[in-house]
């Protein structure tokens, strides 16, 4: 009796519970409000957009966990960048170019992440400001290189690959889910690096005194964030079929929101990638339902905002000053 009570208590304490239950409620609401919400087509589109946002939220989560009010506001800009340049690399229809594209896109993102990390860790610029400015540098760079050409056409190859990867097989979602669990378990929870990241993010001073190289550990979190964002950009353009300037900028804020909904503490030292994935699902479901209801864009964003405020009120209130 006592044991089962404890068990149910444990389930109630599960940090993923709010996000999971909200997702279920949203699925039901979506099916009631709109026709064909649970159709195969819509489900697959929900899964794919969720997969892309999940990648962005993973990038964001690493930086948030690294502490010191860490935020990566350049996630969207990096995604836009690689969404523009990724397709340029894939010009031939073979696996090698695809691999070259993935590698170069990842390097591109990692480089921006490295700059972010240097700015935050060595020049001691507050993460919010550093990554914000970096995002305008990246956007400016993209504009400079592409001469403001509004869109880069996606080569047939990538479209072809897209058909396979993003088609009914939903390989993309699968890849992201595998990546998610592998990184969560083997990088974040088990590896020395992941555990050092949690400690450095929780109490940097104490971590340094323990002999942990916090600076390096946190720097790597920013590089990781850039790297994953780069990958997310390539996936986004593959899914969308065409690239535009700054097409992914909204992903910055969405990724922050997803991470917060997923229960990651913005003060650092606590959180998970899986939480961010669930947060992404919640956000995508909300957007999808509102789109299906044919709401004007403004009203949609208004409702999203109100829901977000509601979630924050439940989820992120700081403790009372008076105990």
């Amino acid at each position: 009796m006592n044991n089962s009570a404890k068990k149910s208590n444990d389930i109630l304490k599960n940090p993923y519970l709010p996000a999971i239950s909200v997702s279920v409620v949203l699925l039901i609401v979506g099916q009631i409000l709109t026709k064909g919400f649970l159709s195969q087509n819509n489900i697959s589109s929900i899964m794919m957009t969720t997969a892309i946002l999940t990648l962005a939220s993973m990038a964001q989560a690493a930086v948030v966990i690294s502490g010191d009010m860490g935020l990566d506001m350049s996630v969207g800009a990096i995604m836009s960048l690689t969404a523009l340049f990724g397709p340029m690399i894939i010009f031939k229809s073979n696996a090698i170019t695809m691999i070259v594209a993935v590698v170069s896109v990842v390097l591109m993102g990692a480089f921006v992440g490295l700059l972010n990390g240097i700015g935050v860790q060595y020049l001691k610029i507050v993460p919010l400001v550093m990554t914000l400015i970096m995002s305008s540098v990246v956007n400016g760079f993209a504009l400079f290189i592409t001469k403001g050409q509004p869109s880069v056409s996606v080569s047939k190859t990538l479209q072809g690959v897209g058909a396979v990867v993003f088609g009914p097989l939903r390989v993309l979602t699968l890849i992201v889910i595998i990546l998610l669990f592998v990184l969560e378990i083997f990088m974040l929870r088990r590896s020395k690096y992941g555990r050092s990241l949690f400690l450095a993010g929780n109490n940097r001073n104490a971590a340094d005194l323990c002999g942990i190289n916090s600076r390096k550990v946190i720097l790597i979190a920013y590089v990781f964030s850039g790297l994953i964002s780069g990958l997310a950009g390539l996936m986004l353009v593959g899914y969308a079929g065409s690239a535009q300037m700054q097409m992914a900028n909204q992903y910055t804020m969405l990724s922050v929101a997803a991470v917060v909904i997923g229960g990651t503490n913005l003060a650092g030292g606590k959180g998970s990638l899986i939480g961010g994935a669930l947060g992404s699902l919640v956000l995508i479901l909300i957007t999808n339902i509102l789109q299906a209801l044919n709401m004007p864009a403004g009203l949609r964003s208004l409702i999203q905002g109100i829901i977000l405020v509601g979630i924050l009120m439940i989820n992120s209130r700081s403790p009372k000053l008076r105990q």
Binding site: M134, R300, S316, R317
Partner: protein, 329 residues
């Protein structure tokens, strides 16, 4: 005398002021002109940014931040255009929009002060709300405001003081009065440490409420000014303003950890960013390069000011100096 020098050296606004003056001279060097009319138009185009910078600096000083101010500017602009379109008089529209902006700030203040939600997250969420309302009211750029509104904005009060200067003065004077009240000291105390502020009997909730409302008001003023210079509505007009204003405040020596810096810093930081844009524009660069160059210079500016206020680096530099002196001896 030495004391004054020391005080100036410690003044947190100094790097921004120096940067601004330096780049102003570069601008004069490049364009070869420095006239009163340039100054007038420079100030009138940058009044909105300055007002938002004042607002955001206030929220940062009390240990928070506000990234929804840009969307409040947009909302103000869209409300004015919509009301004028519905045959309200311009003055009514402007005052109502200012009221809404202030209420938007109050809404932020309620969430942050009363509900105790992290300011960054709160204003992120509310910025979606505000820009959502704006986009709902006015999905595409458009609308018209009678031109006399613009004429008024470019005129001079009593033929003496340009209206934009008065518009800047509105939030600035309110802030300076705040600073003359016990409230001012308490606001800086709150910025340093919430728990200690509470234990010292400071009304944390009230200060947060008031400051965020003030930031909303300042953004409302910014929205009024930007509407006057455009005489039209644009649901994206304030998009970049939140971020730029934070950068301006940081360049102006307002510490994001709270309790350090002042609005003068934010004003000069904002002026520096503006003169920067003027230089880039007047340098005949292609428009594609412009935004990239701007961003790079912004980055350098922030790096310089942050390094200038970093004690560790300062110590290193002074030690290097001393070493060289020693060798010379």
């Amino acid at each position: 005398m030495l004391n004054i020098f020391k005080k100036v050296k410690k003044w947190s606004t100094l790097p921004a002021l120096v940067l601004f003056l330096l780049f102003l001279m570069i601008y004069i060097g490049i364009s070869g002109k420095f006239t009163l009319s340039f100054l007038n138009s420079f100030i009138s185009t940058n009044t909105p940014a300055i007002c938002v910078a004042i607002g955001v600096a206030a929220t940062i000083i009390i240990g928070g931040t506000d990234i929804s101010l840009g969307s409040i500017v947009t909302l103000t602009n869209v409300i004015i255009v919509t009301l004028v379109g519905k045959n309200y008089s311009v003055i009514t529209a402007v005052l109502l929009a200012l009221l809404f902006a202030t209420l938007a700030g109050l809404f932020n203040g309620l969430l942050i002060g009363v509900m105790r939600i992290n300011p960054l997250l709160t204003t992120f969420a509310t910025s979606t709300v505000f820009s959502g309302i704006a986009l709902w009211l006015l999905p595409y750029p458009g609308g018209m405001i009678p031109y006399f509104y613009s004429d008024w904005y470019n005129s001079k009060f009593l033929n003496l003081i340009p209206i934009p200067v008065i518009m800047i003065a509105l939030p600035l004077v309110i802030w300076l009065i705040f600073m003359k009240l016990p409230f001012g000291i308490k606001a800086y105390a709150l910025g340093r440490d919430v728990k200690k502020a509470y234990a010292s009997g400071i009304n944390v909730t009230a200060i947060r409420l008031l400051i965020h409302t003030f930031a909303g008001f300042a953004s409302g003023i910014a929205g009024i000014c930007i509407s006057a210079s455009m005489c039209a509505g644009n649901p994206k007009v304030g998009d970049t303003m939140s971020m730029n204003s934070i950068a301006a405040a940081v360049i102006g020596g307002v510490s994001l950890s709270g309790g350090v810096g002042g609005v003068w810093g934010a004003i000069f930081g904002s002026l520096f960013l503006s003169i920067l844009i003027s230089i880039v524009v007047s340098a005949n660069m292609s428009s594609y390069v412009q935004s990239f160059v701007q961003a790079i210079i912004l980055l350098l500016g922030v790096i310089c000011t942050v390094m200038a206020s970093d004690k560790e680096i300062k110590n290193k530099i002074t030690r290097l100096w001393k070493k060289e002196d020693g060798q010379n001896e």
